[in-house]
């Protein structure tokens, strides 16, 4: 079954697709029902968040909510400095006209016809209904990046992700090379030690790592986020397993050519291990971009927040500005969507073959 076929399917052929027996078993019906519901349940919430992020604050307050982001149309009226919001007003005789609202006093709105700006009309507010059009509130995206620190958070997240991934790839591949290529005393013990560190998740050593990071003077510094998780046992293990498959003859040949051990690692083994390195790189990028608990502990000042921590602080405020929170959540999502769209195969085969996440 080809992967690409997944994009082109019609609902009818979907229903007919049985296990080749021609007759529908109840499991066939259940399967397609389950999958259809799955699309709704898995994509729906994220799509809803993305749609909502384009709504204005007043649009977000509406209950029941509208599906699409709608904005009220505003018109320029002579004699008024600011554009006025447009309403459709139903009159006593059942006819309707579009009027602009000047101000609202209690339950009565003072309105004006845009083509006849001189006459003011008083309308009970339950007679008027906002005239709206599909409009995207880009300001939700622009304002937090300009007025709040989100551009800094974004930068911090990028720095942490890039630097941490570079460090992780370098030191893990060096260790993997040492463990895969050489026979030396203590190799098995070191291998066991590396695997043993798998058993110690950060949740168990929060306080002492905090102490170590404090002693190193890296509290409220991005290094304090980058370094503690740089050596990953899964990374070493994955790369080592891959490097074991590299033919020894190549390494011997390089030694004959008087290449140093470092040159063999850098110019022979690393390029050959590129597929495994790519998998680890993708994982590391995801780990770092999504990391939350540790940055939450190390970073206490707004200037050094990463996107995740900044977003959490922003949504935890007493008066949550949801229009900004939603928009920034989408910003946080975008790199992940890209990784998912282009590199999904790497990730899924990586998980299926190593069981790491």
């Amino acid at each position: 079954m080809s992967e690409a076929a997944g994009i082109r399917f019609s609902p009818v052929s979907l229903l007919r697709a049985t296990r080749g027996r021609g007759r529908l078993h109840w499991t066939d019906v259940f399967s397609y029902g389950y999958l259809a519901f799955g699309i709704f349940l898995m994509f729906g919430p994220v799509v809803w968040l993305a749609l909502s992020s384009f709504k204005t604050p007043s649009g977000l307050l509406e209950f029941p909510p509208t599906l699409l982001p709608l904005g009220q149309i505003e018109v320029e009226v002579d004699g008024h400095d600011k554009p006025l919001p447009l309403y459709r007003v139903t009159h006593d005789d059942g006819s309707a006209t579009e009027l602009a609202q000047i101000r609202r006093i209690g339950i009565v709105a003072q309105m004006v016809d845009p083509v006849d700006p001189e006459t003011r009309i008083k309308v009970p507010i339950d007679r008027r209904e906002a005239v709206r059009e599909f409009r995207i509130a880009w300001e939700n995206y622009v304002a937090p990046l300009q007025r709040f620190n989100f551009l800094i958070y974004l930068k911090n997240s990028v720095v942490v992700t890039v630097v941490a991934t570079a460090v992780t790839l370098l030191i893990n591949s060096m260790a993997a090379y040492g463990l895969a290529i050489y026979e030396f005393r203590g190799r098995n013990a070191i291998m066991l030690f590396v695997i043993g560190t798998l058993m110690i998740p950060i949740t168990v050593i929060l306080v002492p790592v905090y102490l170590v990071v404090t002693e190193l003077g890296m509290i409220n510094s991005l290094w304090g986020v980058i370094l503690p998780g740089a050596a990953t046992p899964t990374g070493v293990f994955l790369l080592r397993q891959y490097m074991l498959t590299i033919p020894r003859d190549l390494i011997e040949a390089a030694r004959m050519d008087r290449a140093s051990e470092w040159a063999i690692y850098w110019r022979v083994v690393l390029p050959l291990a590129a597929p495994a390195i790519a998998v680890l790189a993708i994982f590391s990028i995801m780990w770092r971009w999504n990391d939350f608990l540790w940055p939450l502990i190390v970073l206490n000042r707004s200037e050094v927040y990463t996107l995740q921590v900044g977003l959490n602080a922003f949504q935890g405020e007493l008066d949550v500005q949801w229009h900004y929170v939603l928009a920034m959540t989408v910003v946080t999502l975008i790199p992940v969507i890209f990784v998912f769209a282009f590199l999904q195969r790497f990730i899924t085969t990586g998980i299926a073959s190593t069981g790491m996440k």
């Binding site: 994220v46 809803w48 046992p233 995740q308």
Partner: protein, 337 residues
């Protein structure tokens, strides 16, 4: 004559900085190789990684014990007072272990109790739905790659994003309440009711992690030899029977791995629920890790000793689970860890 493709030249150019870097590092490392000899070079390659492990994993592990045996509010070990097992006694001081209210440190026991409830439901339904999904994705359906992606993609989302996506749906004036009102029901304040908050904590974490376990089970299903199914079909065996007699027994090793992995992750639940409910209402969705976080880092008095003692207890639980995982993995494929 050797004519290279222009695009290939460009790709080569992109690697030039890395080449240069490698050549630069080559000088000092060549010198080191001359000093220590080729036989000791593996240690040189291992040094940075092991150094990081030592400083950020092994050393903290020992400091953790030291912390848990001391009291006071100072961070630096030299300033702390040795108190022996006082912290542990404080945590474990309970008249009745089933009733968290009878414990001196009732927040800790509420955390344990909540984690227990959470893990029991979450792991069961997580594995159940992952299994159902994997079974369906293993069938000869159209668009399998697409559907696999549908269930998998939340795995890549950050816990903060996951929590905010669902919080936005579950708010008082959110779309779920709009739906409830639409079909003639009353609004439900999901984050005010302890039961609903726990329900959504479990639901959201299943939603976010299901794809990962589905993938592992799917790999296990695809490793089952197809001739077994063909033979069963020849014999006219009913599908239900095929499932119970072929699929499930052969998948069981993978199921074990998935169950233990889910347990290990479930016991450490923090991120999504912390952002979704903040542990509330009250302490209804506060779990062990949040207890450690609050005790060590957010409470007015940062009680590092108590947080460490709680970490050690959590570590013991996780260690036992990890041993179970290794045993399960060994049963699965004999050699691999």
């Amino acid at each position: 004559m050797d004519i290279q493709h222009p695009r290939r030249n460009l790709a080569e150019l992109a690697w030039t900085p890395l080449r240069l870097l490698g050549a630069l590092v080559d000088f000092p490392l060549r010198a080191i190789q001359r000093i220590v000899g080729i036989d000791r070079m593996p240690y040189v390659f291992l040094l940075p990684n092991l150094g990081f492990f030592g400083i950020f994993v092994v050393l903290p592990l020992f400091i953790n014990f030291a912390f848990s045996l001391t009291g006071g509010t100072n961070l630096f070990l030299s300033d702390r007072v040795y108190t022996g097992t006082e912290q542990y006694e404080f945590l474990l001081d309970c008249e009745n272990f089933v009733d968290s209210g009878s414990c001196r440190e009732d927040r800790f026991w509420r955390g344990i109790f909540n984690t227990f409830i959470f893990v029991s439901f979450q792991v069961f339904f997580l594995v159940l739905f992952s299994l159902i999904t994997a079974l369906i994705l293993n069938r000869e359906i159209r668009g399998r790659g697409f559907f696999r992606a549908v269930y998998f993609f939340p795995v890549l989302l950050s816990p903060v994003v996951v929590a905010l996506v669902w919080k936005w749906i579950l708010l008082r004036d959110g779309i779920l309440n709009a739906f409830l009102v639409g079909i003639g029901l009353e609004k439900i304040l999901f984050f005010v009711s302890p039961q609903w908050a726990m329900f959504w904590a479990i639901f959201v974490s299943i939603w976010a992690h299901m794809g990962f376990y589905t993938l592992i089970l799917l790999a296990g299903l695809q490793a089952i030899p197809p001739d077994l199914y063909e033979a069963a079909e020849m014999d006219g065996t009913r599908k239900e029977r095929v499932f119970w007699r072929i699929t499930l027994p052969l998948l069981w090793p993978n199921m074990l791995v998935v169950i233990v992995l889910a347990l290990i992750k479930g016991v450490q639940i923090f991120d999504e629920v912390f952002v979704l409910t903040g542990g509330g209402p009250g302490t209804a969705t506060q779990f062990i890790v949040q207890y450690i976080y609050n005790t060590g880092f957010t409470n007015q008095i940062q009680n590092f000793g108590l947080a460490s003692a709680a970490s050690v207890i959590l570590g013991v639980v996780l260690f036992a689970l990890t041993l179970a995982q290794l045993a399960a993995a060994r049963r699965k494929d004999g050699t691999n860890v």
